[in-house]
Each structure stands twice: as C-alpha cells, then as structure tokens.
Amino acid sequence: MIRGADIVVRSLIAENAEFIFGYPGGAIMPVYDALYDYSDQIKHVLTRHEQGAIHAAQGYARVSGNVGVVLATSGPGATNLITGLADAQIDSTPLVCITGQVAAHLLGSDAFQETDVIGLSMPGTKWNIQVRRVEDIAPAIAKAFHIAKTGRPGPVLVDITKNAQVEFGEFNYEPCFGIRSYRPYVKINPTAIAAAAQLINDAKRPYVLYGQGVILANAEKELKEFLDKSGIPAASTLLGSGALSQDHPSYVGKLGMHGNYAPNLLTNQCDVLIAIGMRFDDRVTGDLKRYAKQAQVVHLELDPSEIDKNVKCAVPVLGDCKQSLPLLTDAVNSNTHHEWFEKFRELDKEEKAAVMSYDLESTHGGLHMGEVIQLINQFKDENAILVTDVGQHQMISWRYFNYKESRTQVTSGGLGTMGFALPAALGAQLHDFKRQVICVVGDGGIQMTIQEFGTIMQTKAPVKVVLLNNNYLGMVRQWQQLFFDKRYSFTELENPDFIKIAEAYKLRAVKVTERHELKEAVAQMILHEGPFFLEVVVEKEDNVFPMIATGCSVEEVRLS
C-alpha cells in the first residue's frame, strides 16, 4: 500500500512522462511531497506562474509529440491553467493536467481555494474527471493519457481531492488501451479513396492545403510521397508549417489572413481543393460565401465534426491521414502541373516586388521585423525550432522563417494567446537542449509572461529570445490604422528597460537599434551557448502584408 500522492507520481512515471511543469500549493502538497522521492525518475520544472507551466507543457508537447504534463494546486492554481487549456484544445495539443482539490468532504462548501475546476475546465478540455478516492487515481490517469494522445489530441484534466492523495491504496498500474464510448479512429472507406482519386485525376488545377493534422498523424513522409507523385501545388496553414519542407517543389507558400499572395488568391481558381488535416479556420478562408466556390473539395480529416463544418466537401475521406494518404497516392496518376504552378510563380513576383523588397531589402529607415528573421535563417540549423507569440511579429516570423523540418513551428494558432511564446519556448528547449530554440516575441506579449525569465534562469535552458520592439501593440495598431481611422486607442506602450530585466535574470542581453549592428548580433546570439536575449528596435508603424481583411474573400488579398 502506498499513498495516493505516490500513486499519482508513479502513474506519471509509468506513462513515461519525462517532465512535469508545475507550481505547488496547499491542495497539491502531498503530490509535491511525493515528488521529492522520485526526482531521479521524473523531472519537475518550477515555473513562475501556472499559465507559464501549461504553455511550457504545450511547447514541450508540440516539439516532442509526447503528452505534456502539468501540475497545479486547487482554486487559483487551477484557474490559471484555463487559458492554456483553451489554447491546447483549439490547437489539438496533448496535455494531462493534474490539479489538487480540497478534501472530498469540503466540496461545495466554499472551502479555502476551492473552485469548481471540473465545471470551469469543461469547455476547454477534451475530457476531465474529479477523483475523490485513492483507488480511482491510477485508472483516471491511465484514461487521461489515452484520451489526450489518441485520435485528435487534446488537453485532459484530472482533479484529485486532497483526501485521495493522502489515503493509502494498492498500486498496480494498468495503461488504458480503449474506452467503449470513445472511438478515436475510423476505418478508411475505400469508396471515398476511389472517389477522391477520380476527382484528383480529372482535375486540371488541383490544389493541396495541408495543416497540423499531418504533423499530429506523423504523416509528413506520406504527404511528401503523395505530392511527389501527384505533382500538385501545396500550401500550408499556420500550424501546418514544417509538415513539408519549403524546399519541396510542390510547396507554394502559406495560407490565410497574412499568408502569401498566390496561395490565397489562387484558392478561388483551383478546380479540386484537397484539404489534408486542416479545419478551414476563418483566418484561412476569409469570407466563406466566396471561398473556393468553383472547386470540388476533398477533405482528409480524422475528426468527423470537422467535415462540412465550415466548407462543404464533395468527398470526405475520414480517418488518419497516415493511412489514407498512401491509399490515395496509390490511386492517383503521376502528374505535373507546370502551367498551374506557373500561375503561382507569377503572382509570387508581385508579392516580392510589393512586400518582400520592403520587408527584407530596405537599406535605410528603421529596421523591419522581416530582416531579423531573414538573418536568423542564415545562421540557424535546419531543425531549429521557431516559437512565436501573437501579433505582427508572429505573422512576419511565420512568413519569412524557412521551415525545413516538422515540429519546428510552435505558436498559438487558434486561440491567439499573447504571452504564449516565452514559456512555450522554455518547454520546447527542455525537450532537447541541443536543438536551437528561437523565441520571437513582441513587446506586448513578452510582458504577459515575462516572469518566466526566472524559469529560464533556473533551468539554464539555452533559449534565444528575440524581442521585436516597436513600442506598440502592433497588430491592433495596424487594424486601428486600416479600419479605425488611425485612432490609436490604448496601443502605445511605455516599456521598461528590457535589457536590464533580462540581465537581472542573468540572461546575456544585447540591444540593436541600427541596421549595421544586426547581423553580428544575430550571429552572436545563435552561437551563444546559454540563454540569450536580443532586443531589436524596429520601425514603429510597419504593417504586415499581404492581408485579407475581415469579411473579405481570399481573392481580395491585398498587397498594401
């Protein structure tokens, strides 16, 4: 017989959890007490805020493909996880969050640090459960891991009352392999494959859109083989970036509000649209009423509720794309689409002239965010990970970062959570100290979780933090300029001395204000062994283009 708290820790070890990202407190103290005895088997990372813990776990999960584990106390500890849960839910990130809860006999009595965590976290979790008895702990954790990582992954929360943590029980861990009400995978329907292949083979201008589903299914190789044979142009969503190397001949660019010009515009000129592991987010589609109406849509998707949710499809191919893609590859003809590709190349020239020359090749005036990313490309490793926050810097980084490998892109896509990047970069770095992790943030977002410098200091994670500082909440300011008559309502910031802050946390810190200093500073950062903070003061009122304004169609993508 062992204590419930030991059962919690040993269950996590049985699930091969490598890290726990957490923060202690009253109702979870027995588990923290138990952790003291297992520090040789599982590493605990003490963040500076529970939100930091969950974003770090997300960063870790996104680059490793493992389930991220979070530990927090009841009440405020648990409520501080809510943003991360919602973020992980919408971006399909596998997490198991364990929260302490007041003793079972106190539930519903407004006890100290009691809150209805189950009720609060329900819309932001794939599944959650409250455990009130010691014998239910291990089965709940086993089920939690199974649910978090299978099917369409997502966050799961296990709330454990304090009495269950201190009671004694038998420990005999049995992993969960199935739940009768839960069917995460469906058999691929051969008729759907045949129908999809028929459409693709008859198409004159087929077009592939791929998303994070490809990465979550570990189907990068299968996607590449499908494109190698079919010769179809392919564009990436924000979270799909990295699923296909940007050097691949089929790669034509990025989709969405701040994606590339050609991939957006030509969505309305293709005749067959093949969506793979993506969910037609409104930031990708713009106005749905004018989205790809001319095209027959083939949708390869694991989650049945995504079929016909936003875009009606002619042929749904339900199931894991790691299985469906090879079947489709077998069934499609070898092809090339030179003329069709040529259309992308022509429009690329327009984007290059109108946007990229300004973003990347300016020689005078303030620094542009794109120049920084371009220099990072010069010095980075092929498998370097880019972690970004939310806003202009996120879109610019995504546009110009050269994605070569899968799981190199970590950003808050669906929820758009400012403050995500710093802790997420920490989690990504902890997975592998040898990988380059470059964290690009804005001056707004960094201040939402700036306390995680402390965790970087304590773990010595060699994260490279690049602050693109324009002294504005830049994306909001851009919208105010374009759509609110330049009424810059509460978007200008009076910022602290970020260098002093970084140095106070023992980070090597460098500030760049002039163009001629930039290259050397970026090189210095990349070559530096430990954590590094690079602040680049950029043009205050730069905008991100191309842009599809809200309510506009993909073909109304503007270059200025």
Binding site: M122, N128, S181, R183, Y185, D308
Partner: protein
C-alpha cells in the same frame, strides 16, 4: 428550421449532461426539452433532447455531441420518425369542479390522479399540441398549477446500441 429529437446514449458519468448542454449553449441554441434516464441497458444512460434547428445545425450538433468521450452514440430524428409522448399534470381548485369540467375530462380521456380537500390533479399524456390544448381549456377553471415533462421518444428506424457496442472497430 425543423423540430428534431436527438437520442444520446452515454456512459453514466458525472458531468456528462453538462458536457452535452454546453455544446448548445456555446452555439446559442435553445433546448426545447430534455429528459435523461437510465436506458434498458445496465450502465447506459439515454438523454432525449428536443430542439428546433436547421438541417446543417442538427448535423453539426450531433457530431459535436458524439465527439464527447463518454458519449456512446447519437441519433437524431424528425418528428415523423419517432414515437413520442409528453406527460402533463394540471392542478385545479375544488370549487372549479362542475359538469362542464367532467365533459372536458371525458373528452380528453384525462385522469384524476390525486384528490385533496382543496384541489384535484389531472394527468394527461400526449403530444405537446394535445397537452397544450387541454391547458388552454382548463385555464378558465382557475388552474392553479401546470407541469409538463420533456419528450420521451422511441425511434421508428431500427438500430441497436448493443449491436453497436459489439462492433468495435
């Protein structure tokens, strides 16, 4: 917009009803009526939801409900595809009892299921239109209280939850 009956078969799991209803709340869809009870199978609960939505909405709703981990299976039907009933209770003061009321009771084949010193309680089962019709007639009799259940429904098309559970993929 059509009226649909959604039949949800679930595990007996705390919070499952909440997980299902928030799917409606989030989309701003009103649940017309809802009943929950054990099904004929041990450990499996059946939730019957009546809702007025579009064809697209019902498809999306049923898929979202089925996505809930502890939901076993979801079916949805139009009114003509289900056999359904609702029970209604009417509390009427003793003073209102007169021959005209007797006529109404006979006409509707309603039952007096309780008689107290000050009131009687009528019970009547049928479709909402029927129980509503009786309600309108009873209002002039100084009706004291009225209660109506949600829909209980059995689908006409053949399906078997047992068979579904045995066919694990």
């Amino acid at each position: 917009m059509n009226r649909y009956t959604i039949l949800v078969y679930t595990e007996n799991f705390i919070g499952i009803l909440n997980r299902i209803t928030i799917i409606f709340t989030r989309r701003g869809i009103n649940i017309d009526a809802l009943t929950a009870s054990e099904s004929r199978l041990d450990g499996i609960h059946k939730i019957t939801i009546e809702v007025t939505v579009t064809d697209d909405q019902i498809k999306q709703l049923s898929k979202q409900i089925e996505k809930v981990v502890d939901v076993i299976k979801v079916y949805y039907f139009m009114d003509h595809e289900v056999v359904y009933q609702e029970i209604a209770l009417y509390k009427i003061p003793i003073e209102s009892l007169d021959p005209s009321l007797e006529k109404v009771i006979r006409q509707f084949n309603a039952h007096i299921i309780a008689a107290e010193k000050e009131f009687v309680v009528l019970e009547f089962t049928g479709h909402k239109e029927d129980t509503q019709a009786l309600l309108e007639i009873l209002k002039p009799f100084n009706l004291l209280e009225f209660a109506r259940s949600g829909r209980v429904a059995i689908a006409k098309p053949k399906f078997s939850i047992t068979e579904y559970l045995n066919n694990q993929t």
